[in-house]
Every structure is written in C-alpha cells, then in structure tokens.
Amino acid sequence: MGTRFELILADQADPGRLRSVGERAIEEIRWCHERFNRYSPSSFVSFLRHSKQGHRVPVDRDTFNLLRLARDICLASDGAFDPSGGRGMSDLDLDEDLSTVTSRRPGVVLDFGGIAKGFALDLAASVLREHGVESAFLHGGTSSAIGIGTPPGKAGWRVTLGGPRSNWSVLLMDEALSVSAAWEDNPNPTRDPRTRTIIPCPRRVAVVGPIATLADAWSTAALVHGERPSGLGSEWYVCFA
C-alpha cells in the first residue's frame, strides 16, 4: 500500500504478549498489501487482471467481502467511489455460495487504493480485539485510523487534521477515521471516476464512523461529490476542511 502503518498498544499487559499480538496484527496488514497491490504481479488484483473472461476465480472470504463492499459502495455512491475507475464494477459477478469472482470482460483492472488501507486496519484491529487488546491506536499513512477503547486516563484518541487551513480534531473511541484530499500540484490528481474530470482543489474531507473500510471508501466518495454523500448513513460524521 506504499505507506507506513503504525500500531500503539496501550494495554497494561505483558509486553511480550503485546508484541506478539501486534506482530500478528501487522501480518494482516502485510497480507492486504500483498493481496491488493496492483503493482505486484502475484497480487489478487494482478491475478484477476490476467484471468480469462468467464473464468471463476476462487477467493477467500476476506477478499470476497471486500469486493462486495466495494461494489455496494460504488452503487450507493452513484459511482463516486469506483475501484474500476469508472469502467464498471458490474463487469464482475460475485458468487457468494461458491466464493468466486468472475469477470465478464478480460483485463479488468481494479485499484483498491481508496479502500485497502481501511480494510487492512479493520483486519488488524479485529486481531487485536480477538486477543483481548482494549486500548490501541492504529493508522495507515496518517490518513486512515482506528481508535480502540481509550488511552489510559483519556476520553479518546485525539486526532487533529493539521495544515494551515484547519485545526479540526476528533476524539476516536472504538471508531475509525479516514481523510481524503485533493491538492494543487498533485502530479496524479484525483479524478471523478464517472467523468474523468479532476476534482477541484484544494479540498479535504474527513469521515468518522464505526468501520475503517467504509470510512476509507466513503471519504473518497465525499471528496468526489464535494458534499456529504446521500447514501451515507446517519451514524457517520463528515467534515470538509
């Protein structure tokens, strides 16, 4: 995913056990990187691109869930979030019973850049919770984050959006945050996948809610829309900064 991930485990527990739990969580992040890295020839994304039209590609449940979420948010956001870059997630048939994905056209290229970091954080957080970690903060590239519980003696994990135009901050407690931005002089400017037009900039949006995968995808959609997406549920907080 081309960025740095960091985990802070603040439990008052055996440091050796915490380290091993953290290593286990990082394995999930590494797995996501290998799975969804479109530049890696052995990733799932490359495998799908090279699979034959109509060939059923078996996928694990985690990958299937991500594909289904991506397709659903693509629909709910009117295509503002679209890993296929506007070419249509509808070209993919997802068979839940068989846990397969089938492409109706050859050479499907998916870019999970707008969702994979959040997904990786959710998987890592689930490992931490499964092993009893009650206080932790995780982030990927500082643009996606999860706060588990609270830091010792604090009300939540405080995250501040830096920069000259904002000092907005939020307290995360069992919540996720994702920030998407379009800025001037970006050599690879963010585009609206529906029209291929460049997103007006500078524009920055933060989305806070219960799941990092969704926060990641919806922040991308909100950036494209330039306003709170109508498909986003009321439990989500959106802030343009």
Binding site: R19, S20, R24, S42, D60, F64, L98
Partner: protein
C-alpha cells in the same frame, strides 16, 4: 549485421552462455496450469497454512478439498479462506476422503512424521513442509517411508523449485570457479511467539520456543538455507560448530534468538550461518564466494558479482546491473533466453510469484504429470538432519559430527 540485430543476437547469446536454457519452464505472470484438475487436503492451517492456501488459489486447476487443524479458531478461519473446503480436526479424516489424492502437511514440524507415514499408508501423495522433522530418527523414518512407495513425497525446501535458484545453480559451477566459502543470513526482528486466544493452546502454538520439540533457528529456518548449499555442493558437511543465546527476547525462553553456525566440508570450505530475531538488517540471503566472483541469492532475486580478473562473457555487456555500495551485481534473470529474444530482459527481474507458489506447483505437477520430484524425501531428510545437528552444536557449544546413513 545491423546494430539492432547484433544486440538481439548478443542478448540471446547471453542466455545460452549462462546456461539459462537449462531452466525447465517459462517464467510467466500467467498462472501455472496442470495437466488435469486436482483436489488437495491441507493438514495444519496456521501461519504457513494460510500462505499455502493463498498460493494454491492462484493455481486454476487446484481445489482445496479439505482443511484440518486441531485448533477450532484456526480451522474456522481457514475454511473462510478456502470456501467450499471441508473442515476436520483429525488428519485421518482427510486421508479417508477418496477424492483427495494429495495432502499438504503444514503442521508443527515435530508432528510431521505421524501424518506423513499415515498419508503414505493411505496411498496419498504428500507435500511435507520443511524441515521434514525435528529429530534425526523422524527424518530417516519419513525418508524410509517414501523410499518404499511410488507415491510422490515432496519435501518443502522451496529453493529447489525457485527459478532464480535454479538459474544460479549452474553458475555456481561455471562462473565462480573454486568455491572459497558460503554463507547464510537470516535477520528478522520478531518475537517468534504466536499469541493464542485460548491460554491452553499457548504451548502448542509456540512449539518453536519449546526446547523439547524445536530444532531452533538453524533447524527451522536455517535448514532451508543450508539446503541450498547441500544442493549446489552435492555433498554433505562433516562437522557443525555453533554458538547462540537469548540476546534480546528475555521473556523466559531458552531457545536462542541469535545463533552463529559453521558447517565444514571435507575440503575445508565452510558455510557460515548467522540468524537472529533481534535485528532485521540484511534480511534473508545466501551467498557463495568463488575465486572468480560471488553469487548472492535472496528468495526472489539473485546477483552475480564478478572479480575484475574473471573472464568476461560477451552477454555481460547487455546484462542488467545493480549497484551495492562499491560492488556492482549482475542481476540473475530466470528464463532469460526467451525474454532476451523478446527484448524483454528487464521484465524478468525478480519472480512474479512467491517461491512457495513454484514449490506447490512442482509438487502438483509431479502428482498429475509424473514430473520428477523437485526435492525428494531423501534430499529433504539430509538438509533437515544437518539443521538438527547444527542446532545441537549451538546448544552444546561443541563440535558435532555430521553423519547420515544412506
């Protein structure tokens, strides 16, 4: 001859001169196809089992028919990763499935023997993760069981199937001239401890840290790297010397987190092995030093470093190079002949798939097509035993003689 065609000719010749044409298969991003579909069962679905599932799912002709583990949490996670597979807690249930001709054994090392022997007795082909076992006796028993059958038993020393290592194999003989020394390096900062949800499973999950059953760093990891030396040298070292200790992870463990081993051959050459769980610098690699140069191998990549007085081959003009401080390495490219003919030599740098993928594909080709086993049980047993004896040298701090009955 035009400039362009001359370049093409020389690039093509590069492959031939370097013995690249000896490679058995084309290195391609396209998935490896088998002669026929095959179902497999996977016994042991911990960390390595997960990696195996991921790679098997990249082989279009393979179906994972069953997953097996004694841990219910790992088992349910594995079934989610391999949808459609049957989940069972007893490996014998996998062997009872008539539609599964091959099993992949990825259980803890000290449990391999019972599963492998039962699988062979049940008429199943076996891919057994390496090292084959944690004791000399168990290694020999597995090799004996395999010797008495026509079934495939593939030992999971992945270098034998790795196209980069296959590419380097003849070069060690032709380019390095006299082997001066060899080395292996494994630096990875990690606890080697596996957290469990169920405290009762803590010891089972952390068998690598259990001195009763663990062959330590040099046995569990080093045997893979030692195997490269044994494969290239085609003979065994005669002595192992070692030291080691717990240098960093002082959490009550007694299995060393840092080891240094010397394996000595009858001709005086040695394989020096350094491994630690306290530092990541340098990662994992093997290196072969000769009087004409050195070859460094690091899983998916390999380099040839030539001495200035070594003969220069014509193809080197067009070879792809990489700078390492004051040294310049020629990148070893698998299947370079074909790529050079297509003018795509640089596309061959590195491997498109992890080494595990090629090892599993080799096993399944042996099963479905009858191709020779890339790493036989006897080869696997030898490398496993050398790792076990090297671990004994580390623990005892004294020299251990290496002698393996045929």
């Amino acid at each position: 001859m035009s400039g362009t065609s001359r370049r093409a000719f020389l690039a093509d010749a590069a492959g031939a001169l370097a013995g690249i044409s000896l490679l058995p298969r084309t290195i391609s991003m396209a998935p490896i196809r088998l002669a026929e579909p095959v179902r497999v069962g996977l016994v042991g679905v911990g960390r390595q089992g997960r990696a195996i599932i991921t790679e098997l799912q990249k082989l279009p002709d393979v179906t994972i028919g069953a997953v097996c583990d004694t841990s219910t949490s790992r088992l349910s996670a594995a079934q989610a990763r391999a949808p459609g597979s049957r989940a069972v807690e007893d490996f014998r249930a996998v062997l009872d499935m008539e539609d599964i001709p091959g099993v992949i054994v990825a259980s803890p090392t000290h449990l391999h023997r019972e599963i492998v022997e039962a699988a062979i007795a049940a008429g199943r082909h076996v891919y057994c993760e390496a090292p084959l076992a944690a004791t000399v006796e168990d290694c020999l028993a597995i090799a004996t069981a395999a010797a008495g059958t026509s079934l495939v038993l593939h030992a999971g020393f992945q270098a034998r199937s790795n196209p980069v290592y296959q590419r380097a194999h003849p070069l060690v003989q032709t380019e390095l001239r006299d082997i001066i020394s060899m080395g292996g390096h494994f630096h990875h900062k990690t606890s080697w401890r596996f957290p469990t949800v169920d405290p009762g499973m803590e010891r089972n999950a952390n068998w690598r840290l259990d001195p009763e059953v663990s062959s330590g760093l040099v046995g569990e990891v080093g045997s893979h790297q030692v195997d490269v030396a044994l494969w290239y040298r085609e003979n065994l070292p005669v002595t192992a010397l070692g030291t080691g200790g717990v240098r960093f992870h002082r959490d009550g463990r007694v299995v060393p987190d840092t080891v240094h081993v010397d394996l000595r051959w009858p001709d005086g050459t040695s394989f020096h092995y350094d491994a630690t769980l306290a530092n990541s610098y340098g990662g994992r690699y093997e290196v072969f030093h000769g009087s004409n140069g050195a070859i460094k191998l690091a899983d998916t990549h390999g380099w040839l470093f030539k001495e200035v007085d070594a003969p220069t081959q014509g193809w080197e003009v067009y070879a792809t190079r990489q700078q390492f401080f004051q040294d310049e390495g020629i990148i070893l490219i698998a299947d370079a002949t074909k790529l050079a003919a297509q003018g795509r030599l640089k596309d061959g740098i590195g491997l498109p798939y992890p080494p595990l993928y090629y090892a599993l594909a080799d096993f399944l080709r042996s099963v479905t097509e009858g191709t020779p086993v890339a790493c036989s049980a006897s080869d696997g047993a030898r490398s496993s035993i050398v790792g076990i004896l090297a671990n004994q040298a580390v623990l005892s701090g004294s020299a251990v003689s290496i002698s393996i009955p045929e």
